[in-house]
Subunit: 139 residues, 3 copies
């Protein structure tokens, strides 16, 4: 078994932007030459998270509304009172979603469902450049 | 170190059904012959998730009520307006819980707490047959 | 590639206490001698979870308020009616956050953001001694 360390660069618009990174993940897996193993994805930073969704316009509109219920944008956050950067809601949302996602692959194929894409959710209140760490373990 | 790819088949009733898959996970780990490593579990599909709970009837009643607060069944979702399948809430809940869970094991034993079980939460609005991907890495 | 199994002991105050375990995770990684791989962290028990946050006093005050919206302390839980231990909210919160977190490392450094710390969130309604399982895979 071997390890391959890779990076996936993503530009986001912030404000609960969902970016489908499945093609990049599949591409890096292919370039590694591994056929069987796991892809560990991790987003450095505390205002973004990784999960999977069916990447279609309806859900891309539903997700920000759901996060408004859990951590509203217009609430007063202690974080913002201290630091004045206005992204307290983004920190809470990112902590709930989590920064890591592990996707298994077999026979050179990510074991995703047909209507399931890997997404970076960027909760920050401004556009960001993200570099997702990817650690492939396999053979 | 080696890799073993396995599948755990689960029938669910949908509607926030929780299925305890701990026995199947332990069984597949045992059959692999590995004593020390990690079990990476991943549910293909975008309306189910994996986590751990104390699997007892009280919590099995509490969980659906909690998810009603986070993503209510009776809300109008953009996803449903587009596709008419009525499971928008299931997609949101699955994105929040996440499709992957990694459980370490040592000396041939999953490192779970005494009152902690691995569960598949199926949020879809109908019974489903799920095939959970399981990638064991260890020795 | 090799495996190293370790344990991180943490004392918590309970009641949504956040404990920064980044120094212990980095220390155990260093002692393993591995330079490149993944750190799989898993908290046994069903009333605590692992995630990352910017560990600063504002967010440490915001997090308990966010969890009150998702799973209020003063709600009546079926779990508590059955078992009388008063920590139904803690079980729900832990199921949402999840017990596992996987952090990649490269060149002997955890691939965290500058303002991102690994935290144990203890939702139980009393102080607890936790032993986090840590499985390092790497070389």
């Amino acid at each position: 078994m071997k390890i391959s360390t890779r990076t996936i660069a993503v530009s986001t618009r912030g404000d609960c932007d969902s970016v489908d990174i499945t093609p990049q993940v599949a591409d890096e897996m292919g370039k590694s030459g591994m056929k069987n193993g796991i892809a560990v994805l991790f987003v450095p930073g505390s205002t973004a998270g990784l999960t999977t969704i069916e990447y279609e316009p309806g859900l891309l509109a539903d997700l920000p509304e759901a996060f408004e219920r859990v951590a509203p944008t217009d609430k007063s956050y202690h974080h913002d009172q201290r630091w004045g950067d206005g992204n307290g809601h983004a920190h809470i949302r990112a902590a709930l979603i989590g920064p890591s996602l592990t996707v298994p692959f077999s026979d050179g194929r990510l074991l995703l469902g047909t209507w399931q894409q890997i997404v970076l959710l960027d909760f920050d209140n401004r556009p960001r450049q993200r570099k997702i760490a990817m650690q492939l373990l396999g053979e």
